[in-house]
Amino acid sequence: MNAHTNKMVVIITEFSIKDRVINTIEGLGVKAYTIESHLSGRGTRGIRDDNVLLGENIKISVITNIDIADKICAAVATQYLKHYAGIIYTLDVEMMHP
């Protein structure tokens, strides 16, 4: 199959800023992404349990080209990740369809 190599940007952050992060990403021209909810985890902001009070973690994945990937990382990190818990990482994936 003629696959094309792409970057996948993964953002793990707080549920409470889901809509704002999505807005920011869409503002960079991104029209496709996947969201997973109800994650728990531990990081520099301590344990983030999937509970009703503190809110859970979510994971936003975007498969895109390297330029947009860099822009997403920069925008989300500077706009949100000072006060909100969260990490961003990228990995190489091959898009097989479409």
Partner: protein, 355 residues
């Protein structure tokens, strides 16, 4: 009922015991887990039940005695004033006495000024049980739930706006993509709890007026399940409270002052709330029973721990959730259901001359 009886039957009500069991479950590391969607469903049920009941009773009360409308309006105004007052002074106390940062102080101000749905639910349970046991007396009009949003939204908006201004003056406000006033108001008014409550109030009122038979049948469901759902909800809240206990460490040397304030301050707000109701009772005789004043005390004294944390996390990310969350859910809430419920009830009964 004598005072010892009030205290005992209050402390050993199933809802309170389930809260204790919830705390214990976390402390002994039980495997018990309450699914998140069950928590949400129970919270929604309680808000809908409080709202429907309040709306329906408000219509009934006004139809039976049109003059009551004046009292409702006055109480709503008092609630708005209390919301501002409690928020502003909580911020002062948190900053001066506990020594919290500006952001943390105003975040706490929002919590202590706003309304705790679990606290008002326990209060409504007590007031309506007292009314049911003495049907001939006038104890609790039932429309007090309609006052909830007035104090809640006022306090949250006050705390967020004044807090943002204070941070801006300090130059320590978030340099991040800031959330604007419109968004703040939106999250405050359309957050799950207060939105569902306001809509249920309106639904309760409309249905009571235009479709009383259907309304009563629907209310039967909500009233019948209220105590049971509340008990299971308190189990959940007990677990949440115990999970936050360890975060109190973060307070370090401020811990003792924080504990003291978290326990005493809401009692004061509750007593001030009762005094305000007593004034109205004196000036507008026949409009308020002691149960109404008591429920108003649970509105004023209650410290939000579901809505306010969510709103504050969005609107004031600079504030540390490890401070406001444990203070509200692990200190103030238990203090309120154990001490507050007793003190406020005794004070109300005393002022209204029914011991």
């Amino acid at each position: 009922m004598d005072i010892a009886g009030i205290i005992l039957s209050g402390l050993f009500a199933p809802a309170i015991l389930f809260f204790a069991l919830g705390m214990l479950s976390v402390i002994v590391k039980s495997d018990m887990v309450i699914p998140n969607s069950m928590s949400t469903a129970m919270a929604m049920f309680l808000m809908a039940a409080i709202g429907l009941g309040g709306g329906s009773k408000a219509v009934k009360a006004v139809i039976a005695q049109p003059g009551i409308l004046g009292a409702v309006i006055v109480v709503a105004l008092v609630a708005v004033i209390c919301g501002i007052f409690f928020a502003v002074f909580t911020a002062k106390v948190m900053k001066k006495i506990v020594g919290l940062s500006t952001a943390d102080s105003w975040a706490c101000a929002g919590h202590y000024g706003a309304v705790s749905s679990a606290t008002i639910a326990v209060g409504i349970g007590i007031a309506s049980a007292a009314q049911a046991q003495a049907p001939a007396e006038f104890i609790y009009g039932g429309w007090m739930a309609a006052i909830y949003p007035f104090m809640d939204s006022t306090a949250l908006v006050t705390a967020i706006l004044l807090g943002k201004m204070a941070l801006a003056r300090e130059g320590s406000g978030s340099s991040e993509a800031t959330i604007n006033t419109k968004e703040i108001l939106h999250h405050t008014l359309f957050g799950m709890a207060v939105w569902l409550l306001v809509c249920s109030l309106i639904i309760g009122a409309l249905a009571e007026y235009f479709s009383p038979v259907e309304s009563e049948r629907t209310l039967d469901f909500f009233n019948g399940m209220f105590r049971g759902i509340l008990a299971l909800f308190m189990l959940d809240m007990g677990m949440q409270a115990a999970k936050q206990l360890s975060a109190l460490r973060d307070l370090g040397k401020k811990l003792i002052a924080a504990v003291g304030v978290a326990i005493v301050l809401p009692q004061v707000w509750g007593v001030i709330s009762i005094m305000a109701m007593y004034l109205i009772y004196i000036m507008m005789p026949g409009t308020l029973g002691w149960g109404d004043a008591f429920v108003f005390a649970t509105i004023g004294g209650g410290c939000s721990f579901v809505t306010a944390p969510a709103a504050m996390r969005i609107a004031m990310p600079e504030a540390n959730p490890s401070i406001y969350l444990p203070m509200s859910v692990a200190l103030t809430f238990p203090a309120n259901i154990v001490i507050g419920m007793t003190v406020w009830q005794i004070l109300c009964r005393h002022l209204w001359g029914v011991v």
